[in-house]
Amino acid sequence: MQLKNNNQSLLQKIAPFIGLILIIVIITILNPGFLSVSNLMNVLRQVSINALIAFGMTFVILTGGIDLSVGATLALTGAVTAGMMASGIDPIFAMLLGLLLGAILGAINGIIIAKGKVAPFIATLATMTIYRGLTLVYTDGRPISGLGDSLTFQMLGKGYFLGIPIPVVTMIASFGILYFILKKTTFGRRVYAIGGNEEASILSGINADRIKIYVYSLLGLLAALASLILTSRLNSAQPTAGEMFELDAIAAVVLGGTSLTGGRGWIVGTLIGALIIGVLNNGLNLIGVPSFFQQVVKGAVILLAVLLDRKKTT
């Protein structure tokens, strides 16, 4: 879990990093343009949305859970926020409500899982369908645009801060905060404890239900944040937004070495996992791999990485 822990050897921890470097080297050899500053910024901006969701997913997976509904959560919060903005509500207020909605949708998942004792996979499979359905109902299946020209909102997806895209700044700031939470707070420790041994945690006086609800809420909140960035970038909310995002997020977490059974892993790995996926997406385009074939390569890389990881653990 943490760096000092013998349980995940140093080699195991830096393996994803080595993988990332390897992929970057290969892509750069095939197309040196990859390393241009503008392209790298581009990669980071593309990565930011998946990374935000994957950070939240890391918490969920560390507790031994999973959330398939994040893509739909992103779509629903994006649509509702855009709807409010289009109808003239103060954009900042609308965005805050959007974030709140994300946290609530997450909390609903958490409550079903913790209090209803439903397996996370099933619970979020169901809410995924519900949230997506609600999005379609709300938007009537059409994109929502005409979101006004609020500077804050426009900056969120398209702006720069000291030459760095705002989404990237958001990603880095979130990473810092979440890293700190996992590493230094009792909440973070409890997340690991529940994933490591839920029974022992409860018997130690830890309120496991509450931690789980918080963790899913956090993921919902981050999905909503990602949806604001996406909506701002596109200047509209798409009812089909975020489809398959849950899988990219889970892939990033697993690539980063976090165990799907919970209790073991770290968020630094997730950041690297998200970068691997982002670099692949961008790089395969750059070196001209046909888009249908890109999927095959991406899947194969994920599989390879996870297989190597398993080899080391046993």
Binding site: N5, T185, T186, Y192, A193, G196, N197, L203, G205, N207
Partner: protein, 500 residues
């Protein structure tokens, strides 16, 4: 039969075995003793190919061997029953027994379920266990699961059977039938290596004994030519003195009073009082409902009826968190599944119950955490290679101490201990008894569940005996004898006079 010479083994630079010798003769029962962390389990894992040794040689029947997997050892006739059980809880009892060598119709892979169940039933009956082999293994108590493990080793026709603390979770009756089986197999020429911390067992069962201390070979003796004291001396390297240290506590006012507690299918009509500074023990056979009572008191299992008074006030304890806030601690019975996060470091495990003490506004203070850890390691004499050692890689007895350490940190007012010295060596047992005494002297009320009768008699001020979910007797210190406790634990006549 087996000859191990100059075996050394280290884990990440930590020397755990240092040039150890071990000799097993055909048809003997050879005890292996040593303190917690002395390296007994590690030596056996080296022998059976789970760990690779750093140096030394192993000969089986005069031939040098190099097992690289337990499977190879098994093929050479060496079966191991590990300290930590290897039962798959969702599989049936029969499936567990035949795991990896299922009987099938030809090579079709279709299982002869009926036949395996019949054989299972017979093998277990021979061991004195009457169960339905098609039930999932999780329905069995830990003790009975242990017997299934033993049956598994017996049924592969092993020539050498290694038992790593097989009786830690067994009742006296189960132990009796296990010993009978061992002696019978011995007559047929099977050799045993027997690891245990229970001196009485070693003396009644074994022929020879090898003693390890801190990973070193200390000596080998014939049981008939040694004594209790000599072995303890060899194990701990000094005189130990009395087995049960003296306690000078004053028994104060009532801390806990329960009336008519019941939980469906677990226990009924449980009433007792527990005073400050008192050590109250609950004795009984495995499955008598003792652990369930403890779990209900701790808010982990729901009660169906009855009242609990704490400090004279009626309370409802519905979560362990609430129990903890009230000052109740609970050292659980099964350290691996209930007590520890095995992937956590020792330090992190100790912290789990003590977030209030080591954090401020949700931020963990590394200094305070380390201080708590240092404190506990010193107070309990926990043997670790450092705060960052994972709980998983500790020896069994030290794991137990970590679980106790978790609860000492909260400075409990009422401490429930469920089999607190299971798998703990003599020296450490005494340390744990001293800690219990020290707590009692400070006015902590102690509720101690134990299946080891000498421990109950040596430690308790009063004992409640349970049988099939009911309290069948309450005996004050003067009236405690092994025979009487066993009498009531097995449901023997509930005499009217006894209840007064």
């Amino acid at each position: 039969m087996i000859k191990m010479t100059d075996i050394s083994k280290s884990f990440s630079g930590n020397k755990v075995l240092k040039s150890v010798h071990f000799n097993l003769e055909k048809g003997e029962i050879h005890a292996l003793m040593g303190e917690n962390g002395a390296g007994k389990s590690t030596l056996m894992k080296v022998m059976s190919g789970i760990y690779t040794r750093d140096s030394g040689t192993i000969e089986v029947k005069g031939q040098k061997v190099d097992f690289t997997s337990p499977k190879q050892a098994e093929e050479a006739g060496i079966a191991v029953i590990h300290q930590e059980l290897n039962i798959l809880p969702h599989l049936s009892i029969a499936d567990n027994l035949f795991l990896g060598r299922e009987e099938t119709i030809g090579r079709t892979g279709i299982l002869k379920t009926k036949q395996m169940e019949k054989k299972t039933r017979q093998i277990l009956l021979d061991l004195g266990l009457d169960v339905n082999p098609s039930e999932p293994a999780s329905t069995l108590s830990v003790g009975k699961q242990q017997i299934v493990e033993i049956a598994k080793a017996i049924s592969v026709d092993a020539e050498v059977i290694i038992m790593d603390e097989p009786t830690a979770a067994l009742t006296d009756r189960e132990i009796d039938s296990l010993f009978k089986t061992i002696r019978e197999l011995q007559k047929r020429g099977v050799s045993f290596i027997y690891i245990s911390h229970r001196m009485e067992e070693i003396f009644s069962l074994c022929d020879r004994i090898t003693i390890l201390r801190d990973g070193e070979f200390v000596g080998e003796r014939k049981i008939s030519e040694t004594s209790f004291d000599e072995i303890v001396q060899m194990m701990v390297g000094r005189e130990l003195g009395d087995r049960f240290p003296e306690r000078k506590s004053t028994i104060g006012e009532i801390k806990l009073a329960v009336k008519g507690l019941n939980r469906k299918d677990c226990f009924e009509d449980i009433s007792f009082e527990l005073r400050r500074g008192e050590v109250l023990s609950i004795a009984g056979l495995m499955g008598a409902g003792r652990t369930e009572v403890a779990q209900s008191l701790f808010g982990y299992k729901k009660l169906d009826g009855g009242t609990i008074e704490f400090d004279g006030k009626q309370v409802k304890i519905d979560t362990p968190r609430k129990a903890k806030e009230m000052g109740i601690g609970y050292v659980t019975e099964d350290r691996k599944s209930e007590g520890l996060v095995v992937d956590f470091t020792v330090e992190e495990n100790v912290s789990m119950t003590n977030f209030a003490a080591i954090s401020k506004n949700g931020l963990i203070s590394k200094d305070k955490e380390r201080k708590l850890y240092d404190n506990m390691v010193k107070r309990l004499g926990i043997r670790t290679s450092g705060p960052d050692q994972t709980a998983k890689s500790l020896s069994g007895g030290n794991q137990q101490k970590v679980v106790i350490a978790k609860w000492l940190g909260i400075e409990p007012e009422l401490l429930i201990l469920d089999e607190p010295t299971r798998g703990v060596d003599v020296g450490a047992k005494k340390e744990i008894y001293s800690i219990i005494n020290e707590l009692a002297e400070r006015g902590v009320a102690i509720l101690m569940i134990s299946s080891e009768l000498p421990e109950v008699i040596g430690m308790a001020d009063r004992v409640l005996v349970m049988h099939e979910g009911k309290i069948t007797a309450e005996l004050p210190k003067e009236e405690m004898t092994q025979e009487r406790i066993m009498h009531f634990a097995t449901g023997g006549g509930k005499l009217a006079v006894e209840k007064q």
